[in-house]
Amino acid sequence: METAVHITNLSVNYGKTQALQNIFLDVSEGEFLGIMGPNGGGKSTLLKAILGLIPVTTGQIQIYNKAHMKNRSEIGYVPQFSNMDKQFPISCIEVVLTGQLKHGLAPFFHYSKKDKMTAWEKLERVGIEKLANRQIAELSGGEFQRLLIARALAVNPRILLLDEPTASVDAVSREQIFTLLEELNREKTIILVTHDLLAISSKVKKLACLNGTLVYHGEPEVNDKIMKQLYGCPVDLIAHGVPHRVLREHKEEE
């Protein structure tokens, strides 16, 4: 199987503070990787480093065997929608169309019929084609999140990178988004940063736990030793009504 993302010995510093330290992480093609960890544990930093938005202090990131900065078009990025300006005068279809803009700068650029068809298809794919001509200000959180997924798909990437896709989204939308991601995972490698234990326990195929360094990488089952390393204290993880337990059955320590 091909390696989608290959990270070797990655460290990232912000000034004097070290945000990430010696990260080794391989994501193979077709994987559904969840990244979890405490706030300030470097989850966003790792995403930004992969996307080339922040400089890497040491180490290397490769995307499909090429330096990440040269191969960013393989990534479809879905940012947290809460950070975005919802008052911006733009319609849904226009947002998706921006995913198809040319590299560099494109003077006198007009979207072709084909571009518009593709954008429509992507809206259909995420199930909000009825909202194509709506203003983004009129969307609910879940719809906005799906719109951003549609925009990422319009880039036609092999990897989808999502930052907290279910943060501040209602329960129904959350379920829809995860179902959508599971479907998309048949064609695309998915990496998502999340606090959502439901996702971690039942949706993702692999889990990476970040707290400055990579504490754990493997099956989506975490024992309390790892949780202790992650959050610095024992955490009681009870997932009600979830088919998988986040924690394996474990014995009480005497």
Binding site: P79, P89, T98, A106, P107
Partner: protein, 274 residues
């Protein structure tokens, strides 16, 4: 007044200048409001005062001096913002006062009777000269063409700069281009509204347009129309009441915005209730 327009060259110039200023305000105003660069534009405008002073001191066109100073301020702020480490509003504040201070020093260094700086501070559209108009026209054409030619790139950049840079759009070039455009626009606006009042002319039409339209291009067109109405009506008021044109234009624009804002808020509340 209409007869007077045909009779007097200075009124024709004033009207022409209003239209040019409105076009620039409409386009750049919408961009800086969306990109939240209003205060930065204020800083760039005030730095231009130093350029005006230097222009007088060296005996070149003050408006050229103003342009050079705004451009330097724009790039200075842009570079510091990009490098990080310092809050950009701190740098904006520093440029703001440094420009004003330099202007005062340059004027003080001049021999003889000091020139009338008021028309640069508060604007006097009635004293716009042919040479001012020529510069304004060049700047307006530049601003309009740069924005229109790269319109789709601008839209993506303004909506989500991060995403635009990931898909390979040259956002750094766009950012510095935008800063240059802001500097140019301010030069165009200085003769109409003056350094101090420029902010209102950049924001009021754009903010008013935003209440009516939800498409970027429509916002710009609407904002241009608002600008022309404000400028021409303000000019007429200043002609009739005999007050400074810059002040009357700005007061009109700001009052109009708040009235429209008030009405639209009430209408929206009614809609929610019903």
């Amino acid at each position: 007044m209409i007869q007077a327009v045909f009779k007097y060259q200075f009124l024709q110039n004033a009207l022409f200048a209003s239209v040019l200023a409105s076009i620039v305000c409409g386009i750049i105003g919408v961009i800086i409001v969306e990109k939240k660069l209003v205060m930065m534009s204020g800083g760039i405008a005030h730095t231009a005062y130093g350029g005006v002073g230097l222009g007088y001191l060296l005996g070149i066109e003050p408006i050229i001096g103003a342009f050079l100073f705004s451009l330097c301020a724009a790039f200075g702020i842009g570079v510091v913002k990009r490098k990080g480490g310092v809050q950009s509003d701190v740098v904006i504040g520093l440029f703001w006062s440094l420009g004003m201070a330099l202007g005062i020093v340059f004027i003080a260094c001049m021999k003889g009777y000091p020139p009338d700086m008021n028309s640069y501070l508060f604007g006097n559209i009635l004293s716009v000269t042919k040479s001012d108009l020529k510069w304004m026209l060049i700047m307006t054409i530049l601003v309009v063409s740069v924005v229109l030619v790269l319109f789709q790139d601008w839209k993506a950049y303004l909506f989500d700069e991060e995403f635009a840079s990931i898909i390979g759009i040259k956002t750094v070039i766009l950012e510095f281009l935008l800063l240059a455009l802001i500097a140019m626009s301010i030069v165009v606006l200085i003769r109409v509204a003056g350094i101090i009042l420029v902010l209102a002319l950049l924001t009021a039409p754009a903010a008013t347009a935003k209440l009516f339209s939800s498409q970027l291009l429509k916002c710009m067109i609407f904002s241009i129309i608002c600008g022309i109405i404000f400028c021409v009506a303000g000019l007429w008021i200043s002609y009739v009441v005999n007050v400074a044109s810059g002040a009357s234009i700005v007061i009109l624009a700001v009052v109009f915005y708040f009235v429209v804002y008030g009405i639209s808020t009430i209408v929206r509340k009614r809609k929610v209730r019903s």
